[in-house]
């Protein structure tokens, strides 16, 4: 939560960040070739990686950059998924037609929350409790409105697929879902890169460092916070239906606080807030850890809880900033030893 990392990133400039974006996207594009995607288990794992990386990226925008702690990521994704599913079901058309509704509904909730929060000058804890209460209320509705959602037993969901592609290329439906998520994530990631290097990135940093000072400097604090809230909520809402498609099911527990928000938070903090690679690295590490713990069975939850404590007490900066700091200091040292005969050391 130190601000030196954000500052460093500005110094590095957008060009090297774009390289990072390209590397991540290339890696994700070829990742399925390294695995046997006909194995359902492996394919599901890769799809889940993209789902959770997108959610962590969205939380990075709203929490990392503008300090609005959204603890209703699961509920937003659920609202997105249920909107698409229920609308297309009622009208009786392909879910694709109502896919944008997922983003609109979730984005509207994000707009309301961010606007009210900014207007009422809510601190991070008030936003946390507010969104957690909304999460709980929506979870109750997902389970309780049995006629609509099928209650705790859920309903099956499919239709967000491209049968022509599956047939034309002769690949599995899961691979298509993976690449759908990949395209979605590419757009989000490039958008995020652009945001960081535009006036938005600057304004976010200014607001996070000193809200009153940035207001005095002419920054419309409310507007920037609302933009971050809407963008993040829309992304989360749009992930919802794709997540449901990948599971083939719509279950209230898929969108609960414990099964989404907790995991996404751990991923973001572990990877490193306000970094580009962080959400991906965090998602990757946690999904691998989760799979390794599969053998320990019921101990998984306990380990994740312990991990959350350790992370926050000792490791709040995350993997990416920590590694960068280590790498930087090495580089500085090597530069120093090389330049010592030509340049004078600025510190001496």
């Amino acid at each position: 939560m130190s601000d030196t990392t954000a500052h460093d990133e500005y110094a590095r400039g957008g060009a090297s960040e774009l390289k990072t974006v390209a590397v991540i996207l290339t890696f994700l594009a070829v990742l399925p070739f390294a695995f046997d995607m006909t194995v359902t288990y492996l394919a599901n794992l890769l799809v889940r990686l993209l789902v959770f990386a997108s959610l962590a990226l969205a939380l990075n925008i709203v929490f990392g950059h503008t300090n609005q702690l959204f603890l209703f990521v699961g509920a937003l994704a659920g609202m997105g998924a249920y909107s698409t599913a229920l609308l297309s079901d009622t009208v009786g058309v392909s879910p694709w037609l109502f896919y944008p509704a997922a983003g609109i509904v979730a984005g509207f909730i994000g707009l309301l929350v961010s606007y009210v929060a900014a207007r009422r000058r809510m601190t991070v804890i008030v936003i946390a409790i507010l969104t957690l209460s909304i999460q709980m209320a929506l979870s109750e509705i997902f389970v309780g409105a049995r006629d609509l959602t099928g209650g705790s037993t859920g309903t099956s969901f499919s239709g967000l697929e491209l049968p022509m592609v599956v047939e034309a290329l002769g690949v599995s439906g899961r691979l298509v879902t993976y690449y759908l998520l990949f395209v979605f994530l590419s757009v989000v990631l490039v958008g995020y890169w652009w945001m960081r290097n535009s006036k938005y990135g600057l304004a976010f940093t200014a607001i996070r460092q000193d809200e009153i000072a940035s207001e005095a400097a002419g920054i419309n604090v409310i507007r920037y916070k609302v933009v971050a809230g809407v963008v993040a909520a829309t992304i989360i809402g749009l992930v919802g239906p794709l997540y449901a498609q990948s599971e083939g099911y719509l279950l209230p527990t898929m969108f609960s606080f414990q099964s989404v928000d907790v995991i996404v938070l751990i991923m973001l903090v572990l990877g490193g807030m306000r970094t580009i690679v962080g959400p991906f690295l965090g998602a990757g590490v946690i999904i691998v850890i989760n799979e390794l713990l599969q053998d320990t069975g019921q101990w998984r939850t306990a380990v994740l809880g312990g991990l959350l404590i350790v992370l926050f007490v000792y490791f709040r900066e995350g993997i990416v900033p920590k590694t960068r700091a280590a790498w930087d200091s090495d580089r500085v040292q090597s530069l120093r030893s090389r330049d010592s005969d030509t340049d004078s050391d600025p510190e001496t």
């Binding site: 702690l69 804890i125 909304i134 309780g144 907790v262 809880g305």
Partner: protein, 285 residues
């Protein structure tokens, strides 16, 4: 509907409200005193019940078992305070708030994870309850027991904060930490005391809860959320407000449960919380 039924529901609602008040007080004490939102409060309640059930065959009486459960949670809370909260209190301001949220959330998940492995069923402290007939109104004796025990505890808490030296010192830390330090009060010690007190309140609430309905590990987080809602509706830094809010919400939930249905009563509860947060966010921050 018969007036007697209404009265019966009202007494049940009052009992539930007293439970909520205990949980709300548990949240309010720790948040008001150290800006730590204890998300692990519900686990303490569940642990007290499970510990009570485990020792029940050995101690042979439910009341003794309940006391062992509460004492166990007391010891656990000292350990948590000395280890986890020490690192939280080292940071200040908004950072302490976020760190408090995440470490106690981690603790909640860690403890529930461990409990799940060993105690995956539902648990309850046995209570020889019967229906008492007063002028045609049938009252559950367990409800009366809950009202009595919670009432005595809340009154005791209130007298402690108002009348004792230690209580006054506590309120000083509530209001002004630096001022308290200058008066020779050690805020850290007061915080330990208050954290243990809040855990004990939660433990008693859990045991009282379990004499009317069973508890499982998965109820833990829900119990925490109840406490938080009561606390914010009551205004986070005021025990009196918390108690009043707890009793009111107890009535609301019980009536809504009876007239509209369980799931809708929960939605009402969370909506009240959202409304209060939007109306008076400055009270909480």
């Amino acid at each position: 509907m018969a007036i007697s039924t209404l009265l019966e529901i009202t007494i049940d609602g009052f009992a539930r409200g007293m439970l909520y008040a205990l949980l709300g007080a548990g949240i309010t004490l720790v948040f008001g005193l150290g800006s730590v939102l204890n998300l692990a409060l519900g686990v303490f309640a569940v642990i007290a019940v499970i510990a009570g059930v485990v020792v029940l065959p050995t101690v042979a009486h439910p009341l003794l078992a309940a006391l062992v459960g509460v004492a166990g949670v007391g010891v656990l809370s000292v350990v948590v305070d000395r280890t986890l909260l020490t690192s939280v209190y080292r940071s200040t301001g908004e950072e302490r708030v976020t760190l408090g949220i995440f470490t106690t959330l981690g603790l909640e998940i860690l403890l529930s994870g461990i409990l799940y492995v060993y105690y995956p069923q539902t648990y309850a402290i046995p209570f020889d309850g019967n229906l008492i007939n007063v002028a045609g109104i049938r009252i559950r004796s367990s409800s009366l027991f809950i009202i009595a025990v919670a009432g005595v505890l809340l009154l005791g808490l209130f007298l402690f904060l108002r009348r004792t030296y230690l209580g006054k010192a506590t309120r000083t830390v509530f209001q002004d930490e630096t001022g308290a330090l200058l008066c020779g009060i050690n805020p850290r010690k007061i915080r330990t005391l208050i954290f243990v007190l809040s855990a004990v309140l939660a433990a008693v609430a859990g045991i009282l809860w379990s004499i009317q309905s069973t508890l499982s590990v998965s109820s833990a987080f829900e119990i925490t959320i109840f406490g938080i809602i009561v606390s914010i509706v009551g205004g986070v830094r005021d025990i009196r407000g918390t108690v009043v809010a707890g009793i009111l919400l107890g009535f609301v939930v019980t009536y809504a449960n009876y007239y509209i249905g369980t799931y809708f009563s929960s939605v009402i509860l969370f909506s009240v919380a959202v409304a209060v947060l939007i109306a008076r966010p400055e009270e909480i921050s």
